[in-house]
């Protein structure tokens, strides 16, 4: 049953500052935040707490009016100190000052046999109330899944090929049981298989190896081989009307813990990486943690960009910004806001490039070379020039150029026909990276997805 | 009522009769004028082969042109062997001016008829013959006026359907046509060689000699078309000239 897929297309971005596989000994963060903007498609968040309220870990903080049962819960116990709003009173952050000791909301616990007999409805109720439902992402559109849907299959990618990505096996060490329980719960939601996809060339971690009743597939190739969207495309492609759910391994474990321990456990191991970090390593913290404690005194210089998530799909945050809900890494790279004399023509081996146009000599370097890359765009925005390069970094049978053009001209029919259901931002992030005309393709794609979703 | 079949049929019938009647009436009325217009057009082209006449045509009214034509031109029709013909295969009379050269061109050479227009004015004489051929893109045609010595060209007038403007289309200009004046279609040995437009422009007269004319830069292929048109048609007329002019006794030009 299990499949082996070898991919050729793609591009590995080898950045300097990989996290050492050790867990730092740093005092935990004081403040945590829930950012409604982390949840794609959440347009009408409804706040359940006010400044000054005290919450426990697992206390519902907000929900989307479009999906009233799915609660987003506080990762810690403490006091709501600030509700930050942006333009048009858009809800940005709900900051919580954490207690020394975390107090948990209590949810029902189940043992192994309970879980076997648990009904889908009961499971759904516990998950939506217990703040873990948001881990289930639905394809197409990459939004939080709907409780009433039944997906044709569920996909879990057990490896991450993004630059400077956290090693999932390392971050999930010790979560074997929780992961197993999580899978048992997920099995209730689909008639179809659950796919766990491994790196063909890596060792399969004990976290995943013991799982039975699921389909194990192996993938090889450069990034984005680890992207669950790519994996779906090759194993169980999405056509119009299809639904597939994806869950991160961390999410599976979190679901498991809600049932086995009866708590919303937001703790996670994250990687702090990037060329500007003095000591890149892993940290044990919680979802939504403020990063200031981690980066303080740990940087080579201070003209840097802090990124929650990875460099391809992540989000810029401040030095005292907060880790995103779905993120398991923080990356610090130099800012690139300077003019470079004749930067558009001088030959260099230092600039990382997928292309080999004149003077871009990075292809001569050994593939082991690690690059320091800043945030400069290396060029201005230009008209969309189709170079055919996108096809080389997206290992799917999709004409990205045409898809983007369909999005730009708001041509629903073509977006659908060209396969917009099969991709979300992360799948085409490399296109954005290599794009000669420097467009914000991920944002563009999301616009298209939103158009289709709301039409 | 307006939609009933009977109404539609009656309406259509009336409309057909009215419109058809109108059109045939008009065609009857305009018929003679149209015939005259066609006639005038042909005659203008024929006269245009004589440089002196061409200049004069500009300022003449249609009536004057027609009068002038009947004054100075007399015409005959010859067959491929140079014999004069007066009737076609159906026994109808052939009028030289009405011979459609283009339609003739589609027939095999030996079934074509060849009109000759004889020009005589104050002792100056010329034989004007029509020519037809293929240029680079489409048909080209013209009239060539030949002096009574049957060697020297008095003048030519060319026209074309679709030659390249600025290149091949230059054959309609006076400047290019003037190059043919005075050229001869027999070489020094007395062999018929026609007149050839050479490749490239700005050759000196000494370079060209009596049988060649200066070419048109960039329009060699049109020039080739003109060359073969002249060679063919001037060639076809040789037997007429042999039988009817050189043997002066056989001269029976019927005055038009």
């Amino acid at each position: 049953m299990s499949k082996i897929v070898k991919l050729k297309k793609g591009f590995d971005i080898n950045l300097a500052g990989k996290a050492q596989k050790q867990i730092a000994n740093t005092p935990p963060s004081d403040t945590f935040a829930i950012k409604p903007t982390d949840f794609v498609g959440m347009t009408r968040p409804k706040l359940l707490v006010a400044e000054g309220d005290s919450v426990k870990a697992g206390t519902p903080v907000l929900y989307d009016k479009m999906q009233e049962n799915v609660m987003i819960c506080s990762p810690v116990s403490g006091e709501v100190v600030e509700v930050k709003r942006g333009a048009k009173r858009k809800l940005l952050e709900i900051k919580i000052l954490a207690d020394k000791e975390i107090e948990y909301e209590n949810f029902q616990t189940y043992n192994v046999s309970d879980i076997k007999s648990l009904s889908r409805e009961e499971a759904t109720a516990q998950m939506t109330k217990g703040g873990v439902w948001a881990n289930i992402i639905q394809r197409p559109f990459g939004v939080i899944a709907k409780e009433e849907d039944t997906p044709k299959s569920i996909f879990i990618s057990a490896f991450d090929t993004h630059p400077l990505a956290a090693d999932l096996a390392f971050t999930l060490k010790g979560e074997e049981e929780a992961f197993k329980t999580g899978i048992e719960i997920l099995k209730k939601f689909t008639e179809g298989p659950i796919h766990i996809n491994h790196d063909l060339n890596g060792e399969v971690s004990s976290v995943f190896s013991g799982i039975e009743g699921v389909q194990h597939n192996k993938f090889s190739g450069p990034h984005p081989a680890g992207n669950v969207g790519v994996q779906i495309h090759h194993i169980d492609p999405i056509a119009k009307g299809d639904l597939i759910w994806t869950v991160s391994p961390y999410g599976v474990a979190q679901i498991g813990k809600l049932f086995s321990k009866g708590v919303y456990d937001a703790s996670k191991v994250i990687a702090l990486a990037g060329s500007e970090v003095t000591e890149p390593q892993y940290y044990k913290t919680l979802t939504g943690a403020c990063i200031n404690k981690m980066v303080e005194g740990n940087l080579k210089q201070d003209h840097v960009r802090y990124i929650s998530g990875n460099v391809l799909t992540g989000e810029k945050i401040d030095a005292d910004g907060y880790l995103g809900f779905y993120h398991n890494s923080v990356v610090v790279i130099p800012e690139g806001d300077f003019e470079e004399a004749f930067g558009w023509i001088l030959p260099t081996t230092k600039k990382l490039s997928f292309h080999r146009a004149f003077g871009l000599l990075s292809f001569l370097n050994s593939s082991k070379k690690e690059y320091v890359v800043n945030t400069n765009t290396h060029g201005e925005k230009r008209a969309f020039v189709m170079t055919g390069a996108f096809e080389k970094v997206v290992p799917m049978d999709i004409y990205c150029d045409y898809l983007f053009k369909a999005v730009l001209s708001e041509d629903y029919e073509n977006m659908e026909a060209l396969g917009i259901y099969e991709v979300i931002e992360e799948d085409i992030a490399l296109c954005e990276f290599i794009d000669v005309s420097k467009h914000d393709l991920q944002a563009m794609l999301r616009e298209g997805l939103t158009l289709i979703q709301t039409s | 009522m307006r939609q009933s079949n009977t109404y539609i049929i009656v309406f259509s019938l009336i409309l057909t009769v009215v419109l058809g009647g109108l059109l045939s009436g008009v065609s009857q009325v305009l018929g003679p004028a149209q015939k005259k217009a066609v006639d005038l057009d042909t005659k203008k082209q024929i006269l245009g082969a004589i440089p002196a006449e061409k200049a004069a045509l500009q300022s003449m009214t249609p009536e004057q042109i027609l009068a002038r034509y009947s004054e100075v031109i007399s015409s005959v029709v010859a067959d491929y062997n140079g014999n004069l013909v007066t009737t076609n295969e159906k026994g109808e009379p052939i009028v030289a001016e009405n011979v459609n050269i283009e339609k003739n061109y589609k027939k095999p050479v030996d079934q074509r008829v060849f009109p000759v227009f004889k020009y005589s004015e104050n002792g100056e004489e010329a034989y004007i013959v029509p020519t037809f051929g293929a240029g680079l893109w489409d048909a080209i045609w013209g009239y060539v006026a030949i002096a009574p010595d049957l060697e020297t060209i008095i003048g030519v007038s060319f026209d074309h359907k679709g030659e390249t403007p600025g290149l091949g289309a230059r054959i309609t200009t006076d400047e290019v046509q003037a190059r043919y004046q005075g050229k001869e279609m027999y070489d020094a040995q007395g062999e018929f060689v026609s007149i050839e437009m050479v490749k490239g422009e700005n050759h000196s007269d000494s370079e060209l000699g009596a049988n060649k004319v200066d070419g048109m830069a960039g329009a060699t292929l049109t020039a080739n078309g003109v060359n073969s048109m002249l060679k063919n048609y001037l060639g076809y007329y040789q037997s007429y000239f042999d039988k009817n002019v050189r043997n002066a006794n056989a001269m029976t030009l019927n005055n038009n």
Binding site: I13, P237, A239, K240, D242, I307, V311, T313, E315, K316, G336, D337, F338, E339, E340, A341, F342, L352, S353, H355, R356, A357, F358, L360, S362, T375, N376, T377, H378, G379, E380, R382, A383, F384, V385, M386, T387, G388, D397, I398, Y399, Y402, A417, L418, G419, E425, A429, E432, F433, I434, V436, D440, Q442, A443 | L136, G166, L167, G218, T220, L221
Partner: protein, 399 residues
Amino acid sequence: MKFVQKGFDKIKPLFEKGGKYEKLHPIYEGHRTLFFAPKIVTGSKGAQIRDGIDLKRMMMTVIIAMVPCLLFGMWNVGHQYYLATGVDATFLDKFLIGAMKVVPIIAVSYIVGLGTEFTICVIRQHDVNEGFLVTGMLIPLVVPPTIPLWQVGLATFFAVLVGKEVFGGTGMNILNVALTARAFLYFAYPSQISGEVWTYLGDKAPVDGYSGATSLALAVEASNSGMGVVDKLAQTNTALSADFFSLPNLFYGFIPGSIGETSTLAALLGALILIATGVGSWKIIVSVFGGAFLTGLLMNQVAANTYMEMPAVYHLVIGGLAFGAVFMATDPVSAAQTEAGKWIYGFLIGVLTIIVRVLNPAYPEGIMLAILLMNVFAPLIDFYVVQANKKRRLARATV
């Protein structure tokens, strides 16, 4: 460099919103970015790092790939000049006289082209695009050295305006802009560019027996007179050099022709650069040559005129086939954009080139028209390739 930067900073307020020359901002920006890669950084969401490439660098790659053709072309203009006038000359002499003839053409092409581009950018208030960098160099390379400068200017203006700017600028055009300029000249002022005498002679008269005709013009002439093309080539200009139109000479490009396109060798050097850098599609280049060669072979079998009988390999080295295949057909904007489409597109260019050459006595240079025609049909090819992709997706859905 600091001081240039300061200079720019100093005049910057003039061109910013509310400044005196606010409208001319695109021109300011265009120049500043020529000196400095801009300090734009990535947005707050999405890819936080970007590839080192940009459009300027890509265009520059193409220009560099053209350098062999350009340098050879300059030398060859001089070479032909001295051959035709029967004077011995050194390498430098030849090069200088070539440069004297070619540099003004390049200058006119760039001045008119960039002028048009800047004007339109100011009127429409969009950024100056670097697309013209390549076009501006291509135009001089595809015209004969004898071209009047005003024609170069007019053709450039026409090509930039009608061929590109009306569509919204670089990246939107449907026909290759440089070829549009060349076609404009070809149809607007055919007498200068019809290929009969393409050697710069200055005010000197050529030596006896010299023919300045291009290999293509000779081939057509031979075909018209029923003479073997190779024989004709072998007989022409033998007074100057015994193997003037020999196969190696045709390949090296020591022959009259458009400035940059006589040398197949130089074009192949350019192809190497383009393929190595991945800027030009090797699929297109290979399939153009392949299509041309196979059609040449097929024509050998048909052999209805002497041009058809010419050995197929000659087709690859006479005229501008190599230059067109390498620099024109690969233009990413006007070529087919799907990988499968590129094979079809290139192959058909090759086929059409040979068909136009051997069957169309009016236009000796087939490659130009073949590329333009395939430019017109490239979107259709892509359409069907993409359509097939859509069908695959649809078929999957019904399984």
